[in-house]
């Protein structure tokens, strides 16, 4: 029964090795597609695939995380965890899309950004931040779809968009459940508890007003009928691109500003805080 799935069940489905990945979407949806490579600065990161293609008669820029299906491919794709080079490739192609007035489709499916010494040395935080800043102002419609795992800043770096959609059994979280459990309770084996407590399912995000719509999956998950699931996703994406393309650019940017500006849970009191301590005397 679909309704009986726990958050942790959904985590498992979102990570299913047969679940359709970005390149499956490209294969099923695009009449034509060229993958573009490299950030023109350092490397080509295979954890992100990007290129220009045509869907339903419209030229689009597609940027997505790409996980592997076996050990060898996962080594190449770094389990879908991009390095700064991957984000900078995406950044280059965001600018490219703006220049040629191409709508951008971002397919999100990552456990998170690559945590390694080399990524830190090349500015992982900066790479993500730069993308968020540029997507905020990009003068072309942007749509993102969480097709599997939406892991933290690693997802957000290609996820600041006019519309955000999720597949029924996909997840989106401030940190992967294992990482959340490690940060909160210093015990990554409590990942299932974290998944539940932190409300990371598509349904949770829809309820919070962060996600615009959810596309249903066949019972058991998208991997049991990839073709149909991908087509449904494609329909929703292209419909919203149609709708967004009709909006004047400045209005689109203002709406994007508002979309994120209102996210937050806080209260406004009549009394002010007064912090402890005394100001120091700086020379």
């Amino acid at each position: 029964m679909k309704t009986a799935l726990t958050a942790w069940d959904k985590v498992q489905i979102s990570r299913n090795v047969q679940r359709p990945r970005t390149l499956d979407y490209v294969r099923i949806l695009c009449d034509d597609f060229f993958e573009f490579h490299g950030d023109r600065r350092f490397a080509d990161d295979a954890a992100i695939v990007a290129g220009v293609g045509r869907i339903m008669g419209r030229s689009v820029m597609i940027v997505g995380h790409q996980k592997g299906r076996d050990t060898r491919e996962n080594m190449k794709r770094n389990f879908g965890m991009p390095k700064p080079d991957g984000y900078r490739k995406a950044l280059r192609l965001f600018h490219h899309a703006e220049k040629f007035s191409l709508p951008v489709i971002c397919l999100i499916d990552t456990p998170g950004a690559d945590p390694s010494m080399e990524s830190e040395s090349r500015g992982q935080g900066n790479a993500i931040a730069e993308n968020i800043l540029v997507m905020a102002q990009l003068r072309t419609p942007l749509v993102s779809f969480v097709i599997g795992e939406g892991g933290s800043g690693g997802a957000l770096a290609i996820g600041v968009t006019d519309r955000i959609f999720m597949l029924e059994h996909s997840i989106y979280s401030v940190a992967a459940p294992e990482a959340s459990a490690a940060i909160l309770w210093r015990d990554s084996s409590k990942a299932a508890d974290a998944a539940k407590t932190m409300r990371i399912t598509a349904q949770d995000l829809h309820e919070m007003g962060i996600v615009d719509a959810i596309v249903p999956e066949p019972e058991g998950g998208a991997h049991l009928d990839p073709e149909n699931t991908v087509r449904k996703v494609g329909d929703l994406i292209m419909n919203s691109i149609e709708e967004l393309s009709a909006i004047p650019t400045q209005t689109l940017l203002d709406q994007r500003y508002q979309k994120y500006r209102v996210i937050g849970a806080f209260d406004t009191l009549t009394t002010n805080q007064h912090g402890n301590g005394e100001p120091l005397v700086f020379p």
Binding site: A113, P115, S116, M117, E120, R122, G123, G125, N126, I128, A129, E130, I132, L133, M135, A136, Q137, S152, G153, L156, A157, V160, Y172, S173, V174, A179, S180, A182, L184, T197, M198, R199, I200, D204, M208, G209, I210, Y257, Y260, R261, V262, I263, G264, A265, F266, D267, L269, T270, T271, N272, Q273, H274, G275, N276, G277, E278, P279, L280, F282, P283
Partner: protein
């Protein structure tokens, strides 16, 4: 505006605040770096920098001394956090954690924001309070920076952010994550009118703070020895299964790798920022007398 939550978030009453706790002046403080003991008063007079050069962390209120005396006026001091996820776990209860942190710091959340002047130059500022759940970035944090950036945009003045944060606030889940774009959208708007954002990174600056506004500031200043990174050292060591070099993710390491503009010791911070502000806000002082001649 779309209602954010179908269910009303659990109302949360901030804890009682204590008056400023005065530390007795005769107390010794041990430097975590060199181990030497220093009198509290002596340490405060030296801006909490040990004789060995180690910069100890400052609280948000202590940092307000950076500005011209009595020029700091707090804004949005009345916004308080909620518990949107109803976060309760066997080991952790967010509402209770908030209450404790509020009691200990005298603040509603991990950030203060407001206006100030620095050597006569007006600016908007935000300062994090690390003692409040590790200076973590949740809704109130994001809202205060966004509002400070919006005020700076309206008034056409620069924005200064002083930062010490462990990253996103886990207890507000993906809402915390969405504060990253919220803040950057406001900063992009500020940038569009040619007003600079200067970020001061103090120890430590990690995760969400780095992956949103701090690492894309127009000018990035770090304090000596500050630890700065996206992923935590422990996470990386577990991933690569080897020890990292001692200076990894230090301000000096980041300078060497081209990630920050400069390292400035605390006793030079005030003058440095004032000089920078002057360069950006009054760009051509020679123009004035020439115009007067015409």
């Amino acid at each position: 505006m779309k209602e954010l939550f179908r269910r009303a978030p659990k109302a949360f009453t901030p804890g009682e605040q204590t008056p400023d706790q005065q530390t007795p002046d005769n107390m010794w403080v041990k430097c975590p770096s060199c181990g030497e003991l220093t009198y509290v008063k002596q340490l405060r007079d030296n801006l909490k920098v040990c004789r060995c050069g180690h910069h100890m962390r400052l609280g948000a209120v202590e940092w307000t001394g950076l500005f011209d005396s009595d020029s700091f006026i707090e804004h949005d001091g009345n916004i308080t956090p909620l518990d949107p996820l109803n976060f309760v776990s066997p080991k952790d209860n967010y509402a209770q954690k908030l209450r404790e942190s509020q009691h200990n710091t005298g603040l509603y959340d991990a950030m203060i924001g407001g206006e100030a002047s620095l050597m006569g130059q007006p600016l908007q500022v935000t300062i994090t309070e690390f003692e409040f759940i590790g200076g973590s970035m949740g809704s109130v944090f994001g809202e205060k920076i966004a509002r400070a950036a919006e005020r700076a945009y309206e008034l056409r003045v620069p924005l200064l952010t002083i930062n010490a944060s462990g990253g996103a606030r886990m207890h507000e889940g993906v809402i915390s994550l969405m504060q990253l774009p919220k803040v950057n959208l406001a900063l992009a708007r500020l940038g569009s009118v040619g007003m600079p954002h200067i970020a001061v990174m103090t120890d430590p600056c990690y995760g969400g703070v780095l992956a949103s506004y701090a690492s894309v500031a127009d000018i990035i200043i770090a304090e000596p020895g500050a630890r700065i990174g996206f992923a935590g050292r422990r996470v990386i060591e577990q991933t690569i299964r080897q020890k990292l070099p001692a200076n990894f993710q230090s301000a000096e390491f980041l300078l060497e790798h081209g990630m920050i503009d400069m390292i400035v010791p605390r006793n030079e911070m005030r003058l440095t920022i004032a000089r920078l502000l002057r360069l950006y806000t009054t760009r051509d002082t020679s123009a004035a007398p020439i115009a007067a001649d015409v």
